[in-house]
């Protein structure tokens, strides 16, 4: 059941929010011991929120499509009175006194918060193999990673534990678990969704967005959480669009760019086939699919890594002396950032500006880009390298290779399921759009879903 289906059922009184919440709690009790998707479940407050939602809806006080719908947020979003760990031993007892802006907005929309999902330590990695809170497993194959860093959110949505779970994305951390778990994941434009009350990994690359069961569910969520927030310095005053695609949405005439360079190098052949099949589907729906050359994405990734290493290490500098409190992989990244020169960080930000300008030229030719989200399906837990022909690549670098640069550019991007490989593991299509054109990429994704329902 999707958010839209649940919303319709709630309004027909075919189901109550209390019943949906009970079903979710049952599912969490059954599945969480195996998947470890949740760090914290707030059973009592969820039940009381559901009861309140039912009472409001019965009186005709309708807050919109999320009203009475059970959701979760990654444990990076501050929740007043509820522990917020950021997946780190540093914050294992951290109980915030405020709600993150996203949590406020979800509450205002009437969503029922079920709990906090697990994540890669400090949101700084893609495996969600967390040394402090345990390994999160992929519902499609529990021997494999769910991706990260929003791995608990991906697992919770893919396992149908909740209708939607919020994630954060600094270098692919929403889109990678969406790809590996077979959900939709949306990283909005920089400034579209407030970062207020989110424990930061990076000052200029962090983005907040939903993982959901469909593009329309992601759109419903974005509609609720988008908008200016004076408490976030990067928040944009760009008007909030109407994001939810209608039932009969069309993509006739939309210009879709299929990159000729970089994005189709070093892929699992099944990923290549799946993306090209989606492009063909889009063409059959009336979109114009055209080859397009994109600026140097390898360079963009190098710039993104310098910025992330420097900014994350600046944030963690005060904790870096407590080496025992970090997992080995995260500590290695923090150490790397501490060794970079200040001049390199400044030049990375200058290169970023040049690359944003260069990339803007792409939008003269196309309205959005189709690329793979990840070059591979979900790796096994503990797998550290992946083989492409005679080349060996670090799993972390391979998993972020096609998504990291989009954070540097600040563009909106979503990942949607585009089929499964020979092992029945999900594959992800990434759709990248112009700044603040979330409505278009959501419409394209919804049209593709309508024409080719994703295997579940």
């Amino acid at each position: 059941m999707t958010i839209l289906e649940a919303a319709a059922a709630l309004r027909k009184r075919a189901v109550s929010s209390a019943e949906l919440t009970d079903a979710v709690l049952k599912s969490v009790r059954e599945l969480n011991p195996k998947l470890n998707a949740f760090i914290t479940v707030v059973e009592d407050s969820a039940r009381s929120q559901a009861k309140a939602a039912d009472a409001e809806l019965s009186k005709g006080a309708d807050r919109g499509l999320l009203h009475g719908v059970p959701v979760a947020v990654k444990d990076v979003f501050e929740t007043r009175g509820v522990r917020t760990t950021c997946g780190s031993a540093l914050f294992k007892d951290n109980v915030p006194s405020r709600d993150a802006a996203v949590v406020e907005k979800l509450a205002a929309a009437g969503a029922v918060l079920m709990g906090k999902t697990g994540m890669h330590e400090l949101a700084y990695g893609i495996t969600s193999n967390n040394p402090h809170f345990g390994t999160i497993r992929n519902p499609r194959d529990p021997d494999r990673i769910p991706g990260g860093s929003s791995g608990g959110s991906g697992a919770a949505v893919a396992a149908d534990m909740v209708f939607m779970a919020m994630g954060s994305d600094t270098g692919g951390s929403i889109r990678i678990p969406a790809s590996f778990c077979g959900t939709v994941g949306l990283k909005p434009t920089t400034g579209r969704v407030s970062r207020y009350g989110v424990m930061p990994l990076d000052f200029s690359l962090d983005h907040m967005g939903p993982l959901a069961r469909s593009a329309r569910d992601a759109a419903v969520t974005l509609q609720a959480i988008a908008g200016f927030d004076s408490r976030d310095d990067t928040s944009s005053r760009e008007p909030v669009d109407n994001y939810v695609p209608p039932a009969d949405c069309s993509i006739r005439g939309v210009r879709i760019g299929l990159p000729e360079n970089f994005y189709f190098d070093r892929l699992d052949p099944e990923v290549d086939t799946a993306i090209r099949r989606m492009a063909k589907n889009a063409g059959s729906l009336g979109a114009h699919v055209v080859p397009v050359r994109v600026p140097d994405i390898a360079a963009l990734n190098a710039v993104g890594r310098v910025i992330l290493l420097a900014e994350a290490s600046a944030l963690m500098e005060k904790h870096a002396g407590n080496r025992a409190l970090f997992g080995a992989d995260v500590l290695a990244l923090i150490d790397q950032g501490r060794l970079l020169a200040a001049t390199d960080y400044i030049n990375a930000q200058r290169l970023r500006r040049m690359m944003q300008h260069d990339f803007a030229q792409v939008w003269r030719r196309v309205d959005c880009l189709f690329t793979p989200t990840t070059p591979i399906a979900a790796p096994r837990i503990g797998e550290t390298t992946v083989q492409f022909g005679d080349q060996t690549e670090d799993v972390r670098l391979a998993s972020t290779r096609l998504v990291r640069g989009i954070n540097v550019l600040g563009l909106p991007a979503l990942s949607m399921p585009c089929g499964v490989d020979r092992r029945a593991l999900p594959l992800g299509l990434q759709i990248v759009g112009r700044p603040f054109d979330e409505a278009l990429i959501l419409r394209v994704a919804a049209a593709l879903e309508d024409s080719t329902p994703a295997p579940r």
């Binding site: 290695a332 501490r338 030049n347 930000q349 970023r352 944003q356 300008h357 003269r364």
Partner: protein
């Protein structure tokens, strides 16, 4: 390539030597990818301190 151990020592960063050995290859690889990019930055390019939508992107 840079001598990361000497940089750590000069910066008085208490990073144990085995940890430095472990991260050096990653830093070397990043250095190789990043350093050439810095050669041709025009003088008038300022850092991207805020998100800016270039007019071409808004068309």
């Amino acid at each position: 390539m840079k001598n990361w151990k000497k940089i750590a020592e000069a910066s008085q960063l208490p990073i144990p030597e085995p940890d430095l050995d472990r991260i050096a290859p990653a830093l070397d690889a990043l250095e190789a990818a990043f350093r050439p990019l810095t050669k041709d930055i025009p003088n008038d390019v300022e850092p991207a301190v805020a998100f800016y939508v270039f007019p071409e992107a808004a068309e």
